[in-house]
Subunit: 296 residues, 2 copies
């Protein structure tokens, strides 16, 4: 079996926001260091949970530069670089490569809906061709409930055949374990990463590669424990207990708007102000929601 890349627990890190409404790079670096210390294998920054598509490309670049400048190893970073415009996806990915960050998570171009498989293939293929960098590794980002542009199996197969080694993984955030398992079956060697925290454990048991998830902002240590010991029969009870905490936190953060809930919980835990803010169109929880969430 080909070695999966990436493999492990990657946090879809939340992005703190300053009083000016811009990404708070200082606090973000602190958070990334904390997540790594808690056991994450890396940081999948600037994804859906990170509100990436609410930030300008300049803001995204500055945040990635800050993290690298702070000394976090580039090979532990999986930034999102897929945007609606092909030429900007190329520019963001080239920027990441220029910093030594060689694995990126790439949404399909997500403005046009109902695009053909040929069109979707062409978009990803043109990005790879324009970049022409053999270091590049792409994690496809399947999140149809948000992008409204699913990535069908035949497109994945064509991309992997056309650019061997480049399309090394997929983050499957559709929330359907059967779909993730089918990907593992259909695409030998493809690193299939669960996009929902509770599904990492069952997916690992079927040959999955780990997770890129949101609740990891709060339960990184438990996820890391499950990842490292899921096949260790002597620690089955501990794995079970960690998994139960993961599920409980995921449920807790899903009662109200997810990103706002995660930020409220993190603000409460750390006392860090920057977690109270989101950029529109996302908004913080109402006071009533926040109160209900925090008394749980």
């Amino acid at each position: 079996m080909t070695e999966q890349h990436p493999r492990g627990v990657y946090s879809a890190a939340l992005t703190p926001v300053t009083t000016e409404g811009t990404p708070d790079a200082t606090l973000f670096v602190t958070h990334c260091q904390r997540l790594l210390a808690e056991g994450c294998d890396g940081i999948a920054m600037l994804g859906t949970t990170g509100e990436a598509n609410s930030f300008a490309n300049d803001e995204r670049r500055a945040l990635l530069e800050a993290v690298v400048a702070a000394g976090i190893a580039p090979d532990r970073l999986l930034p999102g670089t897929g945007v609606a415009a092909l030429s900007e996806t190329v520019a963001l990915t080239r920027h990441a490569l220029s910093l030594g960050v060689t694995t990126v998570v790439m949404l399909p171009p997500f403005y046009y809906k109902g695009v053909t498989e040929d069109g979707l293939f062409a978009a990803y293929a043109e990005v790879v061709q324009r970049l022409a960098d053999p270091r590049l590794r792409i994690v496809l980002y399947h999140i149809p409930q948000m992008s409204a542009v699913p990535i069908p199996f035949p497109v994945i197969a064509r991309l992997r055949a056309a650019y061997p080694g480049t399309f090394s993984g997929i983050k499957d955030s559709a929330g359907d374990l059967a779909h993730m398992e089918a990907l593992v079956e259909a695409c030998p060697g493809l690193a299939v990463l669960a996009g929902a925290d509770p599904l990492m454990l069952p997916l690992l048991r079927k040959g999955g590669a780990g997770c890129i998830t949101a609740t990891s902002n709060l339960v990184a240590a438990d996820l890391a424990f499950v990842f490292r010991h899921f096949s260790d029969l002597n620690r089955a009870a501990e794995v079970e207990a960690a998994q139960a905490r993961i599920v409980a936190m995921r449920n807790r953060a899903s009662r109200f708007a997810q990103m706002a809930s995660l930020k409220a919980l993190l603000a409460d835990r750390t006392g860090e102000e920057g977690w109270h803010r989101l950029r529109p169109p996302l908004l913080p929880l109402s006071e009533a929601e926040r109160g209900a969430l925090l008394v749980e």
Copy 2:
């Protein structure tokens, strides 16, 4: 009744593409001048039909600058400036204002789905507040089948109340005449523009302000005629004939992928090479489709 702004026939202009895959500014200027000569009141450039969201913000800015530099009056331009990231919507709109282009067509932030009305209101409100330019006029862009983010009536009402005069119009591309008529009813003074060519005539009869449409790339003169004479009983037969040609062309361009079909028809009519290309994820028609379209 408040004067509607904008009012008239605005072409959702197609964007020609060079062999390098970038917007062809020279050919685009030629096309804009042709559309105005055919009777369009203005050019709604860089919209869905113009593949705007497939182009980088730098490419969008350069195209707008080329059109203004070519001498097309800024008050005849309605560029699209709404993108997924609030700060980029601000930057694109500020750039338009810097060129004297004061009316823009603005998509809602379209990455996050299922956003609250408060969140949608906050996004538009923050754009207006950050720009703080009394010249700004915004045409809201309702195209839920593509953006997957509808703009509900209460949000429109709140924005108009909070920023009187700023939210002057709406391009309704949902294709439902009843929805457009309801907007006319519910929002006195709001310029409601049909997003589908065949619906301009019935909408004008109910108090609508005109259209921003795709087929106008091919039937601008007929649309202009209908707009100028729809209430002139002496020219009812000519209006009817023009409307029939509009409907026929719209149907012809809807058999295969719409933008690719419009480009194929325009390439065929003008002999201009740049219309043969689209940027992925959109693709040109296949040879078979093109053949079938052009023999009609």
